[in-house]
Amino acid sequence: MSKKVEEKFSDREKSDRELAKELDLMFLEKMIQSLPAKKRSKKIVAVSSRSFSMRDMLDEIRQETAYGDMFREMLKRIRLAKLMAK
């Protein structure tokens, strides 16, 4: 692969990664909006020494923490499962 093609590929990879993150955030935001107000901040999972609501998950994804990475993997699975269930 020529250097120019490699650079293009790498730029594309980077922009796709950003886009995928935005999609994950949008997907989670939509899920949160669909919930009754009092459920939006309800803690739904304990991981390590912390508990997370869906809103907390959004923050972790935005900050690109290790928890955020796991939540993104989880969201990808949910999106696929919902598509497969249709």
Partner: protein
């Protein structure tokens, strides 16, 4: 002299990971060391401490001698004392419940009622994992099978069950005990005298079964947490 951790880690590539089969059952010496800290303000700990209580009951029913380092007794000193006993008194199986990171399993700071996260301290880590030589380790905690597990095998532990990613616990009251059943399934199998490979298969199937049920119930978030637990559940063997 103890080999530097970086040197030991560099040798980990030689160790077989995942889905390898240990066909022989655990040694017949039924001595269990159960380590289960309890921090009142910590939701995960409160859940896992209760799950471990069921393991203790099961062990006693199956005729095991149980040394239960629970709550304030789950100190590093008590763990090391248990691991350094003479051969006949040493545990053949160590089961840990609670927090873990790549190279650390946590317990409590000292023999006093643990209230806050400050009381959480490493009880098994890279500097004392060699004390598990000859024993089977089951760590129902986050991440440790990715670092401490391979190191334990390098230090001649007979096997290591654990998780290579975060271990998630649903906080939905209707679901959380079902997570506990899946976490406990491989430990129950070990206590019944099943081989480590059987215990792994039973543990994997328990998560898989729970995943199917949760998906059918349209509990998508709990389903996703369970799939993460299922997919990162691992058996490491020499």
């Amino acid at each position: 002299m103890k080999m530097d951790i970086k040197v030991r880690i560099s040798k980990l590539a030689d160790i077989t990971l995942y889905h390898e089969y240990l066909l022989t059952p655990l040694p017949l010496v039924k001595r269990l060391l159960l380590v289960r800290p309890n921090i009142r303000s910590d939701r995960f700990t409160r859940l896992s401490h209760g799950w471990a209580e069921l393991v203790k009951t099961k062990a006693i029913d199956e005729g095991w001698h149980v040394e239960d380092l629970s709550g304030a007794r789950a100190t590093r000193r008590n763990v090391e004392t248990a691991l350094s006993r003479t051969t006949l008194q040493r545990p053949s199986l160590i089961i840990h419940y609670d927090h873990g990171t790549e190279f650390t399993l946590y317990g409590n700071r000292a023999s006093r009622p643990p209230h806050s996260f400050e009381d959480l301290v490493p009880v098994i880590d890279e500097s004392n994992i060699s004390m598990t030589a000859g024993m089977f380790v089951s760590a129902m905690a986050c991440l440790s099978a990715s670092g401490l597990g391979p190191l334990a095998i390098y230090e001649r532990a007979s096997g290591y069950l654990g998780y290579t990613n975060f271990l998630c616990a649903s906080l939905d009251r209707e679901v959380q005990n079902r997570f506990g059943e899946a976490v406990n399934a491989p430990n129950f199998a070990l206590l019944e005298g099943r081989s480590p490979s059987d215990a792994f298969e039973i543990g994997y199937r328990a998560w898989d079964q729970l995943c199917s049920e949760l998906l059918e119930e349209n509990r998508f978030f709990d389903w996703a947490f369970a799939t993460i637990n299922r997919d990162y559940f691992s058996l490491l063997v020499p």
